[in-house]
């Protein structure tokens, strides 16, 4: 057991509202933990507390055994790949420049950056010769997300943070990308914290599902356990996906 992330008694207050209440969560190396919950359940805030873009009001978070307050923020964030809905790509940069962001910030030589970009584009299923020079607006939604994932992987971070990365995609593209994500996980052996409100997605990509409700952990279970769970919120999610009656 080698925890990459330990969250202890984490609470977060935003605009006078208690968004997270006493969260305890340990993520082991190699796990993909899905943070599942309704809108407003606090799952995105939890992700933002991890990379210190939102301050916690109580509790502590350890990344690679070190409290996040002791990390240099910039260094720490570069070790946490980040993917959001719609990719968050820089619209004024080409695909290659977007993907090469972190290696370039880290001062790697240009040739190494280019090689890395080509390798990553290929691994997310985009031919470098065809896509490297394009701008984000010349890409489809699915292609943008592929680029977003490649960018997040570029610095070879030990932890990936994904905030509903596939939520804005059509069902077929979403399925393609979920498969791609599974392939990448197998090949790159990354640990991931994956925020989603889609129970099917959570069951498909996660090795563990953490169900959040109103800022609390309602249930933490393997996908198999989750399907059988008696928990009311878990049943509600399963029913919403037509998997309610067992």
């Amino acid at each position: 057991m080698n925890p990459i992330l330990e969250i202890r008694g984490l609470s977060c207050r935003l605009g006078g509202r208690e968004v997270l209440r006493h969260i305890d969560l340990t993520v082991e190396e190699g796990e993909t933990v899905a943070l599942l919950g309704r809108s407003g359940s606090g799952k995105t805030t939890l992700l933002k507390c991890v990379n210190a873009t939102v301050p916690a009001s109580a509790g502590e978070i350890l990344f690679q055994g070190k409290p996040i307050g002791e990390w240099d923020r910039i260094t720490m964030r570069r070790r946490m790949g980040y993917v959001i809905q719609e990719g968050g790509l820089f619209p004024h940069w080409t695909v290659a420049a977007n993907v090469g962001l972190v290696p370039r910030l880290e001062g790697r030589p240009e040739a190494a950056v280019t090689a890395r970009v080509d390798e990553l584009l290929t691994s997310v299923g985009l031919a470098p010769a065809q896509f490297a020079g394009r701008f984000p607006r010349q890409l489809s939604g699915g292609q943008k997300q592929r680029v977003g994932i490649a960018r997040a992987l570029a610095g070879d971070p030990p932890l990936l943070l994904l905030d509903e990365p596939f939520a804005a995609l059509d069902p077929i593209t979403r399925f393609d990308l979920q498969q791609q994500f599974l392939d990448l996980r197998r090949n790159w052996k990354k640990t991931a914290l994956f925020v989603t409100h889609d129970v099917r997605e959570a069951l498909l990509v996660a090795s563990r599902i953490v169900l959040l409700r109103a800022g609390r952990v309602e249930l933490a279970a393997s996908p198999e356990e989750f399907r059988m769970a008696e928990n009311e919120e878990a049943r509600a999610f399963l029913a919403s996906a037509g998997m309610g009656d067992l």
């Binding site: 923020r73 910039i74 964030r77 980040y82 959001i84 968050g88 790509l89 004024h92 701008f135 607006r137």
Partner: protein, 208 residues
């Protein structure tokens, strides 16, 4: 007459360029700072808005008795013109900076860019088309307003206009008005072209 048109045109251009240089070097950094401070933003934009509503002749009147920035001559003219030019520059720079997609800023921060890198590599490049719009509006407005500078000895093409009015001579008025108008149209076209190019080079418009 022809050589005087030329001299006054050059003087006019000088007035405009000096004004824009000062307004831009004050307005751009101010807007960058204000983009992060909502309370100050309301105050300063409010002040700049009010400055804009003061009629230009009245503005000269207010400035004349002031030390350093006032008096008869170019300095007062430049001060007044700068106050007018600040509004479009500050407002459009703010629009550009605040208009940067939240997801883009969020991912820049989350990917480990420093605040300075986010400003120079993400926010300012994305705000550039809007900043250029502000500079274009300021330029065109300044070219027009600068004709009033002649009223307080600031020189420029306004000299012909005021002289023509005093002499009831429409040709003298036109000798000042036509070059000023032509200059404004040319500046508008040229800077509009630069704006379009900047959009295109940022992958934000068609045309590659």
């Amino acid at each position: 007459m022809t050589s005087e048109i030329l001299t006054l045109t050059i003087e006019h251009i000088e007035l405009v360029l000096v004004t824009l240089a000062i307004a831009a070097s004050m307005g751009l950094p101010a807007a960058v700072m204000l983009a992060r401070r909502a309370r100050w933003r309301r105050l300063v934009v409010g002040f700049v808005n009010v400055a804009q509503t003061v009629p230009s002749l009245a503005m000269f009147g207010f400035l004349l008795p002031l030390p350093l920035v006032g008096g008869i001559g170019k300095r007062t003219a430049v001060t007044a013109l700068t106050l007018y030019a600040l509004l479009p520059i500050v407002r459009n720079t703010l629009v550009g900076l605040l208009g940067v997609d939240a997801g883009v800023r969020e991912s820049a921060e989350a990917m480990g860019m420093t605040a300075r890198q986010i400003l120079w590599q993400v926010e300012l490049p994305l705000a550039t088309p809007s900043i250029l719009t502000g500079l274009r509006l300021a330029t065109v407005a300044t070219i027009g307003t600068a004709t009033i500078a002649a009223a307080i000895g600031g020189g420029g093409l306004g000299v012909f206009i005021f002289r023509g009015i005093a002499m009831y001579d429409k040709w003298t008025v036109l000798a000042g008005a036509v070059p000023a108008a032509a200059m404004a149209i040319a500046a508008d076209e040229a800077l509009g072209w630069v704006e379009k190019r900047s959009l295109r080079s940022r992958g934000m418009a068609n045309g590659e």
